[in-house]
Symmetry: D2
Subunit: 279 residues, 4 copies
């Protein structure tokens, strides 16, 4: 199996841990190329696209809080910052939090900024990151959406109560209306904005499909015993191969190592060029 | 041993491979916090600082080629691009090359741009990346410097020939003069620009020193048998601890997982928050 | 009359020059607030929006040439660069060309890059900037669109010839097909992309409408003789007033001059704060 | 006289207003090229250079307040934001304040952020923008410097009181020490940081000197009666000429208008290409 979604990957590791995995599997989701394209580079564009198509909001000057500064969060933040938004981050992981600082974002708890922000974006992979209490405190017209991996990040269920009115104003856009008239703009009912309200570029699909295909070919062709009933990361060299197949469309020209340089670096001239843990 | 420089790290792995490592060792150099600060974030600033202090060059509009798009290269490129330079990349690794494309840089072979660039910066870890042939083809006043890991990247020895005149114009700055009067501006005789011509912020020193100290403490305190005579990556949790110690200086506020969320994610509330291979 | 479009503004100046203007008029189009919002800030977002909605193109790594580096061009370039595109500029005006250099863009003639670019964007206000000859030399799948002020910038008429086939692939998107199978992707038949294929944020409409309304009120209320049968720029103080009305939506807090400071600067505490020629 | 400094320019206008100007004068300071280079582009680099050389501060994650969002402020903010600082703006002019919002900066009163910022930079042209009261409230190690036009912006005199100790820690760097031990780091005693602590690139000097020389030549060669005893802006065409002389050093290639295009635009093929009020 060559599996690429986050949910499925977690399942694989759980099966493996439980000793219930009956075939070898590749964790394609965590290959470098897949990670960067499906998450960082793709979300950098789809956050803008998804927000524009649904709300026509202007980004310049808007205050935005992004929950989670992993690859998806990094992509969203870079794009929004570049277009003039003021971005705050929430994080549970100190390494990602420190990266956010160095990239020029204030790291806050959601409660510190929830009253002032114009947009709330979740990309944590966690659940109930935005609670009813947060939703109650948002200002009028605040936009709430999810770029994470499922529909759990925003507690949408908590909004299905009698005192709140839902108004569908456009496909994928609901106004949730409080008794005092305050409206929160909920996108895609809390499901994935990038899948529901924007398109995936063919280039990204190509990267992902190539990675999956290579993983399957590797598993199929591998000599007896190379892979056991466990979960494996894609070999670095294959990851590099996926990337190299996509360079010509950018007219990018790779440099080749000389024999002397390869020897100096202790590398094969054809790769892999980095240790497996390198990202 | 808690070792952080690239050269020493390579040596450790070679010793280990040869079965000659007689104590456990930590590869501190590849911990996330160390990598990002010593390389990406620090070089983002020191490339500007080093060039300014030595040459007073204006960055706006300058054409620059950066050899190598690893962490150091990424830092240099981000800073130079932000200040209005036009940046080209050379790479041997297709994954890094593809990242350069997505970040908006043309990936070229050095020969394609060597006649037109105003600045050449090496950050490959390789040797003879800039050869005498390249140096011969550079235009007048081209600045050449090294941000990589030793003094091998620019073939400086090839410039010690009778037909070329060296003129020391300022501390760390040599004009190498061709018979036709062309001058190439060589910084720090090809040694590390960031160490020779700029300063390391105390913040970065603090990150590095903390990482090293924790690695030593861990090795010292570890129960018999945890570490064998091999090279280990710093445990993720310690990497996170280093980061968390430095958050208060940015007034950054971490979010804590609820019990429910920790259970959902299958994480300990105190970390580690990511698998070891996560960067 | 309080007129804001570029075409109408030119007409006004021509009427005035010809002595045929029979009422005073305000050139609202060149007020600072109007210029920056309708052009710079709005186009920074609508170029991305217009391209995404019509072509789903990924911006990262794409080579783009932008013809014209005025306010519209500056907005387009900033956005595209931020999302990882490699941008080239063409310009007739050396001041704008020098600004492009300082902002990190190569300034070229269209012919130098026409074979290699993935996207061509016109924002010159000129005519026949993209000619049939250019179109003949574009590579397969090149996207061509116009962000300037009318439908003259791309010579679309030249594409209405028997040897070329037009295929409407989506609303506002035509494939023009050469005999050898090459396709050029023409958006909105060369009309304004931002008006045809993206939306204008209400915030920008508010700025423009406020400027126009204030101009009309000023013309209506002005004492006999303040305005003759000529074209006037909006008084600086009104321009400032438009801006100040829109600050609260960003929770922006202005600083007030002390009496002492106002005296030192020779300014009225309520503005205008800049000379009329200041932009 | 062809005068380029801000102080001298103000004096000229005052002399003119008072009827005391006895020769024609050019306000070179407000020519587009001069403004952009001496202020925007030059300060974008010198703020980083000045701060690094004096304090070795790391920019990433630092909170900075910039007083004044004119050309100098815009340059400082762009550079600091790009290197990962979190930047706040203070402004008196609503147009500049709105621009700051659209560029992604919070616009605040100095008092709102004075306790939390790591760096205070003045670029207003005003006096007493940073008062003793502000200085009293800054946190330990806060850096204070001036990029504006004279030594009036920071009320340095107010720091010459017996309860405060001054310690010269390095050339151009004073620690001012409060009785409780708090230190404020004052650069260049409040004089211009860019002149005192960084260098001016030769490219910028060339722009400025060319502009001044052309202004003098124009005044000298002008036919009797073209200029009266008043202050004039540099003719647009000369401004364009200065720019065009500096394009070759960036290998920038201007596009020329065809006869047909020039007629369509109502322009001379050799310029000027923009109305005088265009910036």
């Amino acid at each position: 199996m060559g599996i690429s979604s986050l949910d499925k990957t977690s399942e694989l590791y759980q099966l493996s841990k439980a000793g219930k995995l009956c075939v070898p599997a590749m964790n394609v989701n965590d290959s470098v190329t897949k990670q960067k394209f499906d998450n960082l580079y793709c979300c950098r564009e789809s956050i803008l696209d998804g927000l524009k198509r649904t709300t026509d909001v202007m980004f310049g000057g808007k205050q935005v809080v992004v929950c989670g500064y992993g690859e998806v969060g990094k992509g969203c933040c870079a794009a929004l910052k570049a277009l003039g938004a003021i971005v705050y981050i929430t994080e549970i992981d100190p390494i990602c939090a420190l990266q956010a600082c160095m990239d020029g974002f204030r790291v806050v708890k959601l409660n510190e900024v929830i009253r002032q922000v114009d947009v709330v974006i979740t990309c944590t992979g966690n659940k109930n990151v935005v609670t009813r209490e947060h939703l109650d405190r948002m200002k009028n017209s605040c936009i709430v959406c999810n770029m994470g991996h499922s529909n759990t990040e925003i507690d949408v269920t908590s909004l299905r109560t009698p005192e709140l009115t839902w108004e569908r104003v456009r496909s994928q856009v609901d106004h949730v209306i409080w008794p005092d008239g305050k409206r929160v703009v909920l996108l895609a009912e809390g499901r994935l904005l990038n899948l529901s309200c924007s398109t995936v570029p063919t280039f990204v699909l190509s990267i992902t499909a190539t990675t999956q295909a290579l993983a399957l070919i590797e598993l199929y062709n591998a000599p007896e015993g190379r892979y056991k009933q466990d979960v494996y990361l894609l070999p670095k060299k294959m990851d590099e191969y996926v990337a190299s197949l996509h360079l010509p469309s950018f007219d990018a020209h790779l440099t080749e190592l000389t024999d002397d340089q390869a020897k100096y670096l202790g590398l094969n001239k054809n790769g892999p060029f980095k240790p497996n843990y390198y990202r």
